[in-house]
Chain length 357, copies 2
């Protein structure tokens, strides 16, 4: 029996959508759900309580716009902190929250620590590519000011995900860049390309922005600043297009008729593009399974997120990453010397402590 810890208080539609999603997922009796939040608020939403949903009280809730570090200081018993404690104490195999991404990240580092050998955590965005298979882009916002060798670690962690969770042994890994040739890009990308070429057997080269969604690569690595900007703008374009399509369709009577005939097609497409098809973004590099779902999640997305969290939590992902990066802590010291001869950019601060924002 797998227990997934679920943050009932995080997300734009919390706690209602979260509770409804938990009820959907609980139809599967082999899944245990620890539903974490203000019990007084949650109980009225659960007139009928399935035996595999367990309420766990957490008096505090972190808002979507709160400062991650301030939230930990001021709300040590938030649903996020309590949920991660369950993972740390091995009472749950995974934690998922649809709440404040920064707060989940900072609390995960505090509660679980990082896997030895990991320089920085990464949030991995999973999406269905144009070929219909799953692609993973990381990092999409956990770590900025990356050093080139962090991207080699991201590649290793992504590969572990494909191996352990998707049972795909040989994923192709690409570097997000602004040209396909090896000598393209900024200084950071040129160095990252050289390191990936040397150290990552599955490296297939650069992809440009228009290659992310084609399925040309299974895994796309990038600095968290670029990944975040690309992900958010891509989501926005998709939303904008479907909104514009809707308003053009409403603009003329025969369009409206066409729109009615195509209702099913539009819905099919929406489902295909939606987050709900994937459910959540794994936080790579922390010593335990943590997933971050989209703040706008509805009950169905929460249900998908719980399925995914169970699947990742049941896998050997963390152990595989640990084994793959074992000894790389010492390797990194060598790396740093090698790099500093290539590039005299100052070293960034070490792995952010839970106290830094």
């Amino acid at each position: 029996m797998t227990t997934v810890a679920l943050d009932a208080m995080g997300g734009d539609n919390a706690p209602n959508a979260i509770v409804q999603g938990a009820l959907m997922a609980a139809r599967d009796a082999t899944l245990e759900i620890a539903l974490i939040g203000r019990v007084g608020e949650l109980r009225p939403l659960l007139p009928r309580m399935p035996s595999n949903i367990h309420l766990v009280d957490a008096p505090d809730a972190v808002g979507m716009a709160e400062s991650p570090t301030a939230s930990m200081r001021q709300k040590p018993r938030s649903s996020i902190m309590v949920g991660l404690e369950l993972v740390r104490e091995r009472e749950a195999s995974a934690f998922i929250s649809f709440g404040n991404t920064g707060a989940v990240m900072a609390a995960s580092i505090r509660q679980l620590g990082r896997i030895s050998g990991v320089s920085r955590p990464a949030i991995g965005a999973l999406f269905r590519n144009a070929r219909g298979s799953i692609s993973l882009m990381l990092d999409v916002g956990a770590s900025v000011d990356c050093r080139p060798n962090f991207l080699v670690e991201f590649a290793t962690m992504g590969k572990a995900y494909f191996e352990c969770v998707l049972h795909h042994r040989n994923p192709g890994i690409a570097l997000l860049n602004i040209g396909e040739e090896p000598n393209k890009g900024d200084r950071f990308s040129k160095e990252a390309h050289a390191l990936l070429q040397r150290d990552e057997p599955n490296f297939v080269g650069n992809v440009e922005g228009n290659g992310i969604f084609t399925g040309a690569a299974d895994i796309i690595v990038c600095d968290g600043f670029v990944g975040n900007a690309v992900l958010k703008s891509s989501e926005a374009v998709a939303a904008l297009l479907s909104e514009r399509l809707g308003s053009v369709v409403r603009s003329k009577p025969h369009y409206v008729l066409g729109g009615l005939l195509l209702k099913g097609a539009f819905e099919e497409l929406k489902r295909e593009m939606d987050h709900r098809s994937v459910g959540g973004a794994p936080l790579f590099g922390v010593d335990g399974t943590v997933l971050i779902g989209h703040g706008g999640a509805d009950a169905e997305s929460v249900n998908s997120g719980l399925q995914l969290a169970r699947r990742v939590g049941d896998s050997e992902l963390v152990e595989t990453i640990r084994a793959a990066l074992a000894g790389s802590a010492s390797a990194q010291r060598v790396e740093r010397r090698v790099e500093s001869s290539l590039d005299d950019t100052p070293s960034p601060a070490p792995f952010p402590s839970a106290r830094s924002d």
Copy 2:
């Protein structure tokens, strides 16, 4: 009478689509077009030659994948080099190419030089935002490894475009970042935010990736690496979505009927999203008007590009940028000292000479 120099040899559909676009634009007798390329190839495409199209011979053509610097060395008489010469000699008020972006950029710097006070050139992407007005994002690929103060210059150049070409006196300027609060982002963005806040009265703060297309800001500034990745991925999402919509619509008979009824709506939407609505991306910072159009341009896009090139070439854009940045060359030296106390990243190479790739 305005003369626009048009590269007949650049683009995926060159020279045919270019010549057809020139013929469309030439219906307006007040526009003179210098059509530059291999005259032997062009003449057969022009059985009837309007009096306002002038063939200018250029024996060489630069391929889409050629190295920018090698192309200048090996093909000093390419259609790109010859077209820019016309601008330099004031025989044309603007040059537009739908060919190799890097080659146009490198050749523009070589032939025209940069405007005094400009540290780096920037390519500006113009698009219609969700409010229906024009937004400008720069840089989208001309300059990587930017220093924070380059973004202040990009803001100044973008503002000059709004003033001179769009007659919009007070555009709002935002910084592309991964959070809205001033303290968000990587080191580069935090510094750029501080400089924009201090030096740019029209600065409205950060926008995230999902704020680019909303119209929340008229001008969005960013490093060329990020801008390029965002632009290409956004274009790809739009293309992917419309392709998927097409194939879902073809999948069931009543969908096909709906699709026929909506044909006009889809076309309307496509036009709205297309490059052709804008026509080309101005290259900011070089001492003359240069526009780069999309390689996939068809005749209609070439026509739009020519209209835009004329409009920009007739404006006071270059002079306005020169006046706005006058004296900033000395200001930059001070800036550099101020910055180096904030950030000890090594200075990038000076403005790329035409010889660097």
